[in-house]
């Protein structure tokens, strides 16, 4: 990777890392990655129950 690309990647990642830190500031320990699929299944099931 050229120096230019390296600098761009560093800057881009610094921005992403800062965004992650801001967003995760109040993330509780009970929140786990598998919650994503559960959110989709629960969202669909909730709608079916309501209709």
């Amino acid at each position: 990777m050229s120096q230019d690309q390296d600098r761009i990647a560093q800057a881009e990642y610094a921005d992403l890392a800062a965004a992650m830190e801001r967003a995760a500031v109040d993330l509780g320990l009970t929140e786990e990655p598998s919650g994503f699929v559960a959110a989709l299944e629960d969202g669909a099931a909730g709608q079916e129950a309501a209709s």
């Binding site: 881009e12 992650m20 990655p33 598998s34 919650g35 994503f36 969202g43 669909a44």
Partner: protein
């Protein structure tokens, strides 16, 4: 015949008005004539397609029908493994991706009677929203040469819009089905995460990859989705939920349906013609009885950032050997995207996955309490010139890429079904489009809204002039 839709061709074959061989020869003739300019295909399997067509014709003559696609010519993005054909994933290496099995989605379409014309061009490693490819040729927009077809499923968009295939499969990790569908004036559906098996498809980001149909009409997309959707033991993330008959509910209308329009993010910094097209589509839906109302969404940029961290990390893991052993083979801007993935610490990757869970739960609960579907733009501007994708420093190209995919990416993170449908044309004759987003696994409603708009707008009759 190549102007027909997938559904009308299948019906004509059933009625004996045309045959699988005639349909396949018509497509192959068009490919021979137009693809040297369009660059939609990486591999054309004329021999295999004709062999399959003859077999299907024999079966039809004997009254044997494999399924609803009997004799319909299709093509697949070159990251779907198809036994007997190479899978380059848009790289310089013909056999970059190999699998012991046909991809499940392709196998299901072939079992339903579909014919494989070949493998379609794409952005290298599916990393980029414009559809340019220095190795296999830049895919041209069928509506205007010299403009991008959108990516990464660029060949899929151009082939369907140009009448080279009746339908195609694409993959969507940050917009790669919806962006080319919007740029090429066709229909593209990213289903719910888990709705369609990803087995036998090159991974870019296991957590964000979605497989879906790209077609001329919403009815065609509904038919293809019904065939490819459903549980697959070879993809642990595929859902066990039953697959509804998506075509059955298309004509139910939108009267009383609550259509949410984002008041933040999605309409900021848009090309005026894009905004006008979406607003016009909303008036059409309102005229059909939908209840259209603005609503404020949880900031989509947060989910865009989360998706970026996840996709870059997983992309780097998926392609580490290529990036480390043969980096000189990769286009600079794609290499830059891979390199970023190597910089993401495990801690940030896991935080992103955890954030995604929270953001998705919050979005589904809050937004769909107020609306049944969302309608938003897909692309921030009509398909730009190809130089927009190829000329400039890596930094400039990366910035343009991020901007062009900013309206689609968050729905990959949220895993929600999102449909791109045509929404008129710009003054320069380039397609406009809108994006319809629904509840998890509610593709049926998303398709119903798209169909209602399509029928009212009367778009499908218009075709690009390609000679």
């Amino acid at each position: 015949m190549t102007d027909w839709t997938l559904v009308t061709l299948a019906e004509a074959i059933r009625r004996g008005q045309t045959s699988p061989v005639e349909a396949t020869e018509a497509c192959l003739g068009r490919i021979r004539r137009l693809d040297p300019k369009l660059r939609a295909f990486i591999t054309i399997d004329a021999e295999g397609a004709l062999r399959a067509a003859k077999e299907l014709e024999r079966e039809a003559t004997a009254g044997q029908w494999r399924g609803p696609l009997h004799g319909v010519p299709l093509a697949f993005k070159d990251l779907f493994h198809v036994r007997g054909l190479p899978t380059s994933c848009g790289t310089r290496t013909a056999e970059y991706f190999v699998s012991p099995h046909d991809s499940t989605a392709v196998a299901r379409l072939v079992a339903a009677g579909g014919i494989t014309l070949g493998k379609l061009n794409m952005t290298e490693l599916a990393m980029g929203p414009f559809g340019d490819n220095a190795h296999h040729g830049h895919v041209q927009n069928p509506w205007r040469a010299g403009h991008v077809a959108g990516g990464s499923s660029s060949g899929s968009g151009a082939a369907v819009a140009g009448g080279l295939a009746l339908g195609a499969l694409g993959s969507d990790t940050g917009g790669s089905i919806r962006l080319p569908a919007a740029c090429c004036g066709i229909v593209g559906l990213k289903p719910t995460y888990g709705r369609v098996s990803r087995a036998g498809v090159m991974p870019l980001s296991w957590s964000n990859d979605h497989i879906g149909p790209m077609t001329r009409t919403v009815r065609d997309a509904a038919l293809m989705l019904g065939i490819i959707a459903g549980r697959d033991p070879r993809d642990a993330t595929s859902s066990r939920r039953p697959v509804p008959d998506y075509a059955a509910g298309l004509e139910a209308g939108v009267s009383g349906l609550r259509v949410g329009v984002p008041e933040n993010f999605f309409f900021q910094g848009l090309d005026p013609e894009i905004e006008a097209g979406v607003r016009a589509a909303l008036r059409v839906l309102e005229g059909l009885g939908a209840r259209v109302a603005e609503l404020r969404l949880p900031d989509p940029q947060v989910m865009n950032d989360v998706c970026n961290v996840i996709a870059r990390s997983e992309g780097a893991a998926a392609h580490v050997r290529l990036a480390r052993e043969r980096p000189e083979e990769i286009q600079p801007v794609v290499r830059g995207r891979l390199e970023l993935g190597f910089r993401v610490p495990a801690h940030d990757y896991i935080q992103a996955l955890r954030l995604r869970a929270r953001l998705t739960r919050h979005f589904v609960t809050e937004v769909f309490a107020a609306a049944d579907v969302l309608v938003a733009p897909v692309i921030p501007e009509p398909a730009p010139p190809l130089t927009h994708a190829t000329d400039g420093s890596v930094g400039e190209l990366t910035t343009r890429q991020a901007r062009f995919a900013r309206l689609t990416r968050s729905f990959n993170g949220l895993g929600l079904p999102a449909l791109s449908v045509p929404g008129g044309f710009s003054r320069a004759g380039l397609p406009l489009a809108l994006q319809i987003v629904g509840r998890p696994f509610d593709e049926a409603t998303v398709l119903r809204v798209g169909y209602a708009h399509e029928q009212a707008a009367g778009w499908p009759a218009r075709r690009p002039t390609l000679g």
